[in-house]
Amino acid sequence: MSETVVEFDRLSRSFGAKRALNEVTLRVERGSVFGLVGENGAGKTTLIRHAIGLLKAKQGSVRVFQLDPVRHPKEVLGRIGYLSEDRDLPDWMTVAQLMRYNQAFYRGWDEAFAEQLREQFELDPKQQVKKLSRGQRARAGLLIALAHRPELLILDEPSSGLDPVVRRDILSAIIRTVADEGRTVLFSSHLLEEVERVADQVAMIHSGRVGLNGPLPEILQEHKRLVLRFGEPQLAEPNLPGAISCQGTGREWTVLCNGGVEELRVAASKCGAEIVDEGTPTLDEIFLARAGSQTDRQGAS
């Protein structure tokens, strides 16, 4: 049985009247690459800030390495590499000072690896952080998150500010390397292609709730995309049981469903439609369909 590195148990959090997290239960296993996806304001960063102890669990609980990150910040944070969404770094430090300062906090700081990363990221050690471009700042943040070879790497929107080449070649490679070494990665992103490329596990958060959670291959396999052709043009969205989303106009409609393909096939034939194409949707399509259907449900309720 694999070890749980991060555990959120029925975690809820409100900021004033806004419910940021609602009964979130998630487990991140050791050695996995766990992707948190959701639109802006869904609650991904709030969840991550709970994991590093910057937010106290008011309802429910959070455990990281079996410890409460609020009560044991030194023990927990010393084993974590963290890249924040806002790339918050001390502006006045030079890159070299930033590395030297961070080295003091982590026993596992690998000087040679840090230097290798600095060269790979093309960062000038004499450059001040405030003069770095947004992309360079993201790379500097990534450097200090990685150089002590943390047991758990937490990346909040790591792609933000990185150019496509760095994003595709470096970030993906880093995340896979960390996971291959048996370490754990928890990252949030709204770039679903990227999540699909590197994640083993995915949790989809929408308005503070976990909408979908599981191994990525299973999620992809469970969902089906069907293209239906109706005998007569449909003026309104056809009512098909089991469909998560239904999009199209006239005779041809694309339906996304989570299992229940047979049920949907029967329902379609009753409506006078035939399935002309069947395939596996991308994570992007699943996310859009689920986010849309949840918004509809919330609107209706």
């Binding site: 910057l54 944070l77 963290y82 969404e85 806002d86 001390p90 430090m93 906090f105």
Partner: protein, 547 residues
């Protein structure tokens, strides 16, 4: 297609609307605050000592105090109404329209608000304070501030540096022009504009200065707008490159050492540097100090160290612009008490290094005064420092030593407490500071205004002892809570006891405390409160870091 024609006047109106829409609440609040505060304080003064404001020296001094508070308060509200100048760079209009429209609004605002405040106080106290002269000077000052802020650079540091340099140059020029500074009464330039009315030539000077400021502001804004402005940080960078650096710095021995280094390099150094800057300004005016005022001057510059320290304390505790722990700071693998200790250590080094800088500067001031034959006698200095008896030289050293211990402890206590309260976040710090200040002022001033002289004495005695008891209880509760949360250890308690003992002994040496409770209770109270930051700081980090 329907095109909307926009002329300069229309754009200026839009910019003026932006100024008022953003700032009217702050400006009204500032005005209400100034009138309320001044009425309260001056009300108490006139109750206590039956003051006459109109045409007296005291009235002029009180007007100067009111004028300073008005400038700060209304100036801050106008500064907030400007917003960020950078956002206006992309507006499809000329720099002249942008600068002039906002400057005119600021000047009108400043003049009208000052006029309203002064009129209100004139009505309440029959003060007869002038409107036109000070109002026009205030309008010019705000225009000058805008010119600096909008043309020098976009960073607060360089703006403050440029404002400070200008103030120093203006102060030196004023001293050279009007002679020695007399602290007992306001003389020199203030009398011209403030008390002798505004003539046509004054109005001409005002118009010329306003036009000059619009011109300079426009040129500066236009340069910044196209990326070729005066950037102070470039000069700083150039100076930094001149300083040789070691090729490779050694790693820190402990995480706490690294954290202290960061605290010091980020904020802590400001206190000694600020003291040095103020000290440089003091050195500039020292040769012009009149002999009669030199002992007062000594007393005044000794107190100056204390005042900026309080303000700097607010800065040392701030974690981010919104007062919360930012991601980088909050995610350091350190305990809450380790982070708090690093902040307190930085504040402590700041206070002690400032004291050292100040001691050097006092020595330099004494040397300059001696060179000009204006050095005050030891008796005068000891009288200014309110040491208990007219000292003989043999005892003066011991008494001064006691005073230094007490003063350093008190300054450290205030700075560390301010730092700790701000460390808890803007809301908590603000509420605690306003409550303490409000209760103190409310109890003291309220009784003066509402009670008969016989009842006042009893009430103030009860109020003072209740206030002392409550603050000490609060202090003890802070230590108990920090102990319970395992944020402090027995070492911290020992340190607290040490601070209290050193300060109390210092007070006894300096002032010779008697067994009368009125002699030692206030001192003991101050000494007991001084180490409160040792508990408040870790509690503040614990509260603010994990919200």
């Amino acid at each position: 297609m329907n095109h909307v024609q926009t002329g300069g006047m229309q754009q200026a109106r839009a910019l003026a609307w932006e100024f008022w829409a953003r700032g009217w609440r702050g400006q009204l609040l500032g005005l209400a605050g100034v009138i309320g505060f001044a009425s309260l304080i001056y009300g108490v003064f006139s109750e206590i000592s039956d003051l006459t404001f109109r045409g007296t020296e005291t009235g002029r001094s009180l007007h100067f105090g009111f004028y300073s508070v008005t400038l700060f308060s209304l100036g801050a509200s106008i500064l907030a109404a400007w917003g960020v100048p950078r956002r206006r760079y992309t507006l499809p209009t000329s720099s002249l329209v942008i600068v002039a429209s906002t400057m005119v609004c600021s000047m009108v605002s400043m003049f009208v608000l000052y006029a309203l405040a002064a009129t209100a106080l004139n009505l309440i106290f029959d003060a007869g304070w002038p409107i036109w002269g000070p109002g026009l000077v205030a309008a010019l000052l705000i225009a000058w501030l805008q010119t600096l802020f909008w043309s020098i650079s976009n960073t607060r540091g360089s703006q403050l540096a440029s404002v400070s340099s200008c103030v120093m140059i203006l102060a030196s020029w004023g001293v050279l022009l009007f002679g020695a500074i007399k602290f007992a009464s306001l003389g020199g330039p203030t009398a011209v504009w403030f008390h002798e009315g505004v003539s046509a030539s004054h109005l001409g000077m005002f118009s010329l200065a306003s036009m000059g400021l619009v011109g300079v502001g426009t040129v500066g804004f236009a340069s910044l707008r196209c990326g070729s402005g005066i950037e102070v940080h470039r000069i700083v960078d150039w100076a930094c490159r001149l300083i040789p650096r070691t090729a490779r710095a050694t790693p820190f021995s402990y995480p706490t050492t690294a954290q202290f280094w960061m605290e010091w390099r980020e904020r802590g150094y400001v206190m000694p540097v600020g003291t040095a800057v103020i000290g440089a300004a003091v050195l500039l005016i020292t040769p012009f100090v009149a002999r009669a005022d030199s002992s007062e001057f000594f007393g005044a510059i000794s107190a100056i160290l204390f005042l900026p320290a309080i303000v700097i304390g607010l800065f040392l505790g701030a974690r981010s612009p919104d007062g919360l722990f930012a991601n980088f700071n909050g995610s350091r693998p350190l305990t809450d008490s380790q982070i708090a200790n690093a902040v307190l250590k930085s504040a402590t080094v700041g206070v002690f290094s400032s004291a050292l800088v100040w001691a050097v500067l006092l020595g330099a001031v004494a040397l300059i005064l001696a060179l000009f034959g204006r050095l005050p006698s030891l008796q005068d200095v000891s009288h200014q420092l309110e040491l208990s008896r007219a000292p003989e030289v043999a005892y003066l050293g011991i008494r001064l030593l006691g005073l230094v211990a007490l003063a350093l402890g008190a300054i450290w206590g205030v700075v560390a407490l301010m730092t700790s309260l701000v460390l808890a976040g803007k809301k908590v710090g603000g509420v605690v500071m306003c409550t303490l200040f409000g209760v103190w002022i409310g109890g003291g001033v309220g009784s003066e205004l509402l009670l008969s002289p016989e009842a006042q004495d009893t009430f103030q005695r009860v109020f003072f002892f209740s206030f002392v008891a409550l603050t000490l209880l609060g202090n003890a509760a802070g230590f108990a809570a920090a102990w319970r949360l395992k944020l402090i250890s027995h070492k911290t308690l020992l340190m607290a006891v040490g601070i209290v003992a050193v300060m109390f002994a210092g007070a006894h040496l300096a002032f010779g405390l008697t067994s009368d409770p009125e002699s030692y209770v206030p001192v003991l109270w101050g000494c007991l409160l001084a180490p409160s930051a040792l508990a408040v700081a870790p509690l503040a980090v614990w509260w603010n870091r994990h919200r």
